[in-house]
């Protein structure tokens, strides 16, 4: 697998140098691996810090900016950031109003952010954590690591970010983040495997006519393999799978995110979105807002994920609030 890199070891540092060069509106601390807004918010506000392994771009660095994150902590490819890094970010952006950590539910992320939260609390920084766990491919049980955090992360960061921007206190910002997460479910299918630069070859082999169903965003294989089918059938299955684990009824409104995993052309994502919309209409579910594109990727993996977030007027109003980040922008 060919990659536009200098060496597997320098991927993160080199990419951060590029982010710094491309985005004067961001401040990039390359040695500490922390991306913050170049211009600090004028008034004290709750600061949102997120992070996770690299390889999911634009998540999270692409969501730093007014209306969304205050800082992102990118780890090595598919590896959660280290506690020091998160602590550095929390220190950099805390204005006294506290810090909300948005954490995707993976063992490594949870442990590293927990250690960071302990360190930050010791320094007197008020910290809350929202754990994102929206992936219905994984059964949520005390016997497992629980559902994974995937596409809903974008919605949690956007909506909690909007509330924080308005000066809401930490408890409220955390609560709306948890509300978005609870209202969200996702599911993903992959047509190809991702290739981690250090591994140098795809994470799994997939025959020319098969897909992995229920994959995560780290190149892990999915729950099972199936034959590739037309987009219409695939989209219908994914919609039905998400709805089966969602408390949505006919008449409900959703925010629908059809997210590319990195290697799928936008043309195909639009085809999928059209079929998702058609299937949701059959279920009587209304799409109130939509998002189509590459937001939570898995390096070069081909495939898509669907996230459906049950919407109400309050969430929609925050979803529509202005945001100005490299990857999500509205005025």
């Amino acid at each position: 697998m060919k990659k536009l890199i200098n060496s597997p070891e320098s991927v993160l540092a080199d990419a951060l140098a590029g982010v710094a060069a491309a985005h004067p509106e961001l401040a990039v601390d390359v040695p500490n691996r922390v991306i913050t807004r170049a211009v600090r918010p004028a008034a004290p506000k709750v600061a949102l810090v997120s992070g996770g392994g690299s390889g999911h771009e634009p998540l999270h660095g692409g969501f730093v900016g007014p209306g969304m994150l205050d800082a992102a902590c990118p780890g090595e490819v598919f590896t959660s950031p280290v506690p020091d890094q998160v602590l550095t970010a929390a220190r950099a952006v805390d204005s006294g109003a506290g810090v909300l950590l948005v954490v995707k539910n993976y063992t490594g992320d949870v442990m590293n952010f927990r250690l960071a939260a302990e360190l930050a609390a010791e320094e007197g920084i008020e910290v809350r954590t929202v754990l994102v766990d929206d992936d219905v491919a994984v059964r949520d049980s005390t016997w497992t690591a629980g559902r994974r955090g995937t596409g809903a992360t974008v919605l949690v960061e956007k909506i909690a970010g909007a509330l924080a921007e308005r000066g809401a206190p930490l408890a409220e910002v955390a609560a709306v983040g948890e509300r978005v997460n609870a209202a969200s479910r996702s599911f993903a299918v992959a047509l190809t495997a991702a290739t981690v630069p250090a591994a140098g070859k795809p994470g799994f082999d997939l025959p020319e006519d098969e897909i992995e169903v229920g994959v995560g965003i780290h190149g892990e294989p999915g729950r099972r393999r199936e034959k590739l089918r037309p987009a219409r059938e695939l989209a219908a299955e994914v919609v039905d799978t998400v709805l089966a684990d969602h408390d949505l009824a006919a008449g409900d409104e959703v925010i629908a995110l059809v997210n590319g995993l990195g290697g799928t052309p936008l043309l195909e994502l639009y085809i999928v979105f059209g079929e998702v919309a058609a299937r949701l209409a059959e279920h009587g579910v209304t799409i109130a807002r939509s998002l189509v594109g590459n937001f939570v990727t898995s390096l070069d993996m081909a495939g898509f994920s669907l996230t459906l977030t049950k919407a109400d007027a309050g969430l929609l109003e925050l979803w529509d609030a202005p945001v100005a980040t490299p990857a999500l922008h509205r005025s």
Binding site: P8, P81, D84, T107, W143, T144, E220, P221, R223
Partner: protein, 228 residues
């Protein structure tokens, strides 16, 4: 063959007989250096195992961590074995990330904290190893049978304790622990994962050896190598 091989580079005290040997700073450092070398040699194998049921980074994660640990050990001379293991742990926590960083990092930190300032007797070291496992279980919440590094660590610790109770020295106990760790490692293959990324695969995780259990086997094998 003299057991004070180049693997023990940095060992400053004279050799003692294996049976009477205590874990002092040079021996602890030799262990960590041997473990770093083993991670270097087995990096690809660990990554390949992680590709099959995880995200393909376990080898590079540990390699990055132990490279940083070597730099830390080169830069300072820890006073005692506890300091060697403690610094190893905190370096792993601040350099590795992922699941293995906090888990191995906490284990070594707990071992370091449990050791006395004086060279540790086999029994004292058994207590430190137990503190390490307790830290892993506290942080990760995994129980034996969940197909994690706990499945190699648990039988290794039990074998170490049994050997010490039977009068074995460090070398004998470590060698028993290494064998038990390797059996535990192999025994992860038929298990279905219930913790960590491999658990996402459900039944498809069956039939693959756990990468973390594999690196834990290296941990005990290198301990046996440097003490034997």
């Amino acid at each position: 063959m003299d057991h004070d091989t180049p693997d023990h580079a940095g060992a400053g005290t004279g050799p003692s007989t294996p049976e009477a040997r205590a874990l002092d700073a040079p021996l602890a450092e030799a262990w960590i250096r041997a473990l770093a070398a083993a991670v270097d040699v087995h990096q690809r194998e660990l990554t390949d195992l992680d590709s099959a049921i995880g995200d393909g980074d376990h080898g590079s994660n540990l390699h990055r961590g132990f490279t940083a640990v070597l730099a830390v050990l080169d830069a300072l001379q820890p006073a005692d074995a506890g300091a060697v293991l403690g610094r190893t742990g905190s370096t792993l926590i601040s350099k590795v990330g992922g699941a293995s960083g906090p888990l191995y990092g906490s284990a070594f930190r707990a071992m370091g904290a449990a050791l006395p300032p004086s060279p540790a007797t086999p029994a004292e070291f058994a207590g430190a190893l137990a503190a390490g496992l307790a830290a892993v279980r506290r942080l990760g919440g995994a129980a034996p049978g969940d197909k994690t590094l706990v499945d190699a660590y648990t039988p290794a610790l039990a074998a170490f304790e049994r050997a010490v109770a039977g009068g074995a020295g460090l070398a004998g106990a470590a060698s028993a622990a290494a064998e038990a760790a390797e059996r535990g490692m192999r025994a992860t293959t038929p298990l279905q994962a219930r913790k960590g990324r491999a658990s996402y695969l459900g039944p498809r995780s069956i039939g693959h050896q756990d990468p973390g259990a594999t690196s834990t086997a290296l941990l005990f094998r290198t301990l046996a190598d440097v003490t034997g």
